[in-house]
């Protein structure tokens, strides 16, 4: 004999009420202060309904002629029997009934990926990541500087431009998390975005260096593929934080979205590849001599490639 009620209010806050034994065999529910279960909901009547405990441990719910009525599941009810895990809605408040013998799930590990991501939310982490992101961006600007005149306003503009988009996107995710889970997780989301930004900035250096030395891998789509991989991981992490979707749904979304983007990219590339252009599209990549680790071929070897290029040109006449 006993009853546990999970009360979820309009604001999605939840509390558990435990009624071990009710002497009168009657549990009154309503907004009035002398009820057994007080519901602070303006859409609930002062004396809205009551639960009658039967001899054999059954629960019977009775509506007391309330203004807005009561619902079990989705059907309106006046009198009904309740079983464990049944849900009643009174006004805008949701009541779920449990028998004390109800089995609950074992504890979640504090080390699961969602928890780890959500606890990635300290200000010190944010600070470190922000400094890291600023440094990588500064490195990028430094390496790409080719002698133009610089002023503080321009630099400020570049930095603001670079950080405002991740910030806006994070804010949007955060709003989604607030709606879906009741908590915004803003810091965790921003931190994940900053981390993705740093990875995006940094991975290109080894990749470009490698591509320069081995022109065979110097293809545009490889770079796009790597970018999308980082994007997919970012999407997965953010989905874990912001939604309560099942793990494999998250994985599916995080995998599918970059794949779809990549396919669209390939379609555009292939459809524009046939377009006539007076300017040849050659590989003009040049990097500082320290990055060049390989030696070249002799001029004669290069001359011997020319017939092959003419053969290719013959193929490209349409």
């Amino acid at each position: 004999m006993g009853l546990i009620i999970e009360v979820t209010g309009d604001t999605r806050t939840t509390r558990l009420e435990n009624f071990r034994s009710v002497a009168s065999g009657l549990l009154s529910i309503g907004r009035a202060r002398d009820n057994d279960l007080i519901l602070d909901d303006p859409y609930v009547d002062p004396y809205h309904g009551q639960i009658i405990f039967g001899e054999t441990g059954t629960w019977l719910y009775q509506d007391l002629g309330s203004e807005n009525g009561s619902k079990r599941g989705k059907e309106s009810v006046n009198d009904c029997a309740l079983a464990s895990t049944d849900v009643l809605t009174l006004g805008k408040t949701r009541l779920q009934f449990f028998d004390p013998s109800h089995q609950v799930a074992p504890a979640l590990s504090l080390h699961n990926s969602r928890q780890r991501l959500m606890s990635f939310n300290t200000w010190s982490t944010s600070g470190a990541l922000l400094v890291g992101a600023i440094l990588t961006l500064a490195l990028n600007i430094y390496l790409n500087y080719t002698g133009e005149k610089l002023d503080a306003g321009l630099l400020m503009g570049i930095f603001l431009g670079a950080f405002s988009l991740p910030l806006i996107i994070s804010a949007a995710w955060s709003l989604l998390a607030k709606v879906l889970c009741g908590r915004s997780h803003f810091l965790s989301i921003v931190n994940v975005a900053l981390l993705a930004l740093i990875v995006l900035e940094l991975y290109q250096y080894p990749f470009i260096g490698l591509a320069y030395n081995f022109p065979a891998i110097d293809r545009g789509f490889l770079g796009v593929l790597l970018n999308l991989l980082v994007f997919g991981l970012y999407l997965y992490a953010t989905l874990l934080i912001c939604t309560r979707l099942k793990e494999h749904t998250n994985k599916l979304i995080a995998g599918l979205v970059p794949v779809v983007i990549f396919c669209a990219y390939l379609v555009i590339q292939i459809s524009t590849a046939d377009e006539h252009n007076n300017a040849p599209n050659y590989n003009g990549r040049l990097l500082a001599p320290v990055v060049l680790l390989r030696s070249g071929e002799t001029p004669d070897e290069f001359i011997q490639r020319l017939p092959g290029i003419f053969d290719d040109a013959d193929e490209l006449i349409d």
Partner: protein, 436 residues
């Protein structure tokens, strides 16, 4: 038809004050005597010759009206008419869409002409009208001297037959194909018309104008060789004739370059080729004073090219040869920054001629690291074929040093309308000479 092949007036430095002075002088002093004299000669030349000069109209068959006009003249009693290739190029390239009509000032009779032969390199065409009667113009045998008066006749802007007196100024000295420099105003529509000496003999064919009385004629010798090589009534594949002419012309020019002067002259901290042969004219440039206030690398460049493209159709030009040398150095940028700038320059080379998708294939390119001597360079070679002219290619070659921290040297050439063998031969020589 407008006069299409305008040699770009590069580096046109003018001195307004001086110009006004000379102009005023000429007008006031020369007005009475010179004009009076040339008017008499112009009139007699006109009276002697105009019966053999026709307006050429290229008629769009579907629209049943003229789409372009030019001029032409009779050179043979069998009804052969000389004109510019560019006047009738539409009728050559799309014969089903156009027909060629000839008529004179009174527009009393219209003749239908067919294209008998063309010389695309020298921009000449011979048309045939079997039933044509009337006078034939004599082609000059003797040379004209610089300063002699010459008379160009044609139908400018559909305005009726017009005589333009001017001065013969010899062959343009650095032209890719022979051109007479004629000082007189040629205008659109006069293309293909004759120019006479004061005996009324044809000395050239009107072809192009660069404005301000600077005009060009095709020397009559070119017309004579085309005429001599044209036997009447012979079936000719004009496309293939043109292809062969372009191949021969490319061979002539590239052989002339290979026999030229391959001496290297300083360019910034490097050495580069200069005017290898007469038809390649070089111009130089370097970073200017205003730019020097920023920290961008210092650059100096030399660019050498032929003076005009060969007109094949309104959308396709070819025959251009360009050589370019670029020196870059920086003391202020570090190696990574310098190469970022260098890459931007290296990635933007384009050929000097152009065509539509219907005329040209797409580019095939390959790049590699090449080690000439002690230097490491990046070399790029691109080629594209011609749709209607098999065996003809545009070629773009690019080579830049990649082993020096803060300086670089780029060498580049484009050969438009050449063959595999010629391009290969030239590339080999170019890489060997190098300048590294």
């Amino acid at each position: 038809m407008s006069l299409t092949t305008n040699p770009a007036p590069r580096c046109a430095i003018s001195y307004p004050g001086l110009f006004a002075l000379i102009l005023g002088f000429c007008l006031s002093v020369g007005a009475h005597t010179a004009v009076a004299l040339s008017a008499a000669d112009a009139r007699s030349t006109f009276e002697l010759t105009h019966g053999a000069i026709y307006q050429i109209r290229v008629i769009d068959i579907a629209a049943n009206n003229k789409s372009s006009t030019g001029s032409g003249f009779v050179i043979d009693s069998n009804g052969l008419i000389a004109t510019n290739y560019h006047v009738v190029s539409n009728a050559v390239n799309t014969p089903g869409k156009y027909r060629i009509e000839l008529l004179q000032n009174d527009e009393s009779r219209v003749y239908i002409a067919t294209v008998e032969n063309v010389d695309v390199v020298n921009d000449l065409a011979l048309l045939h009208v079997p039933e044509l009667q009337g006078p034939v113009l004599p082609l000059a045998g003797a040379a004209v001297a610089q300063g002699d008066t010459a008379y160009a006749i044609g139908y400018p802007y559909d305005l009726g037959i017009t005589v333009v007196p001017g001065t013969y100024n010899g062959l343009a000295p650095h032209s890719a194909s022979d051109r007479v420099h004629f000082t007189g105003s040629l205008n659109p529509g006069m293309s293909g018309g004759p120019a006479f000496n004061n005996q009324g003999e044809v000395i050239g064919v009107n072809v192009a104008s660069a404005g301000n009385q600077v005009s060009f004629l095709i020397p009559v010798q070119r017309l004579q060789s085309l005429y001599a090589g044209t036997s009447m009534g012979q079936q000719r594949d004009l496309k293939d004739t043109m292809r062969q002419q372009l191949v021969d012309n490319s061979a002539r020019m590239i052989e002339q370059m290979l026999d030229g002067n391959w001496q290297l002259l300083p360019l910034g901290g490097a050495k580069a080729l200069d005017e290898i042969t007469g038809f390649l004219r070089c111009w130089g440039d370097s970073k200017n004073q205003q730019e020097q206030s920023d920290s961008k690398p210092f650059w100096a460049q030399r660019s050498c090219q032929t003076d005009h493209n060969i007109f094949v159709s309104p959308s396709l030009t070819t025959g251009k040869i360009e050589l370019q040398f670029y020196w870059l150095e920086s003391a202020e940028l570090n190696s990574a920054q310098f190469y970022e700038h260098y890459e931007q320059i290296f990635s933007r080379f384009v050929p000097g001629n152009s065509g539509r998708e219907e005329d040209l294939g797409r580019w095939a390119c390959e790049d590699a690291f090449v080690n000439p001597a002690a230097e490491v360079t990046k070399a790029v070679f691109c080629a594209r074929g011609y749709d209607a002219m098999p065996g003809l290619y545009d070629v773009l070659f690019l080579q830049g040093s990649v082993s020096r921290a803060q300086e670089a040297h780029i060498i580049h050439f484009t050969l438009a309308g050449t063959t595999r063998e010629l391009a290969q031969k030239f590339t080999q020589r170019f890489i060997e000479t190098g300048a590294w």
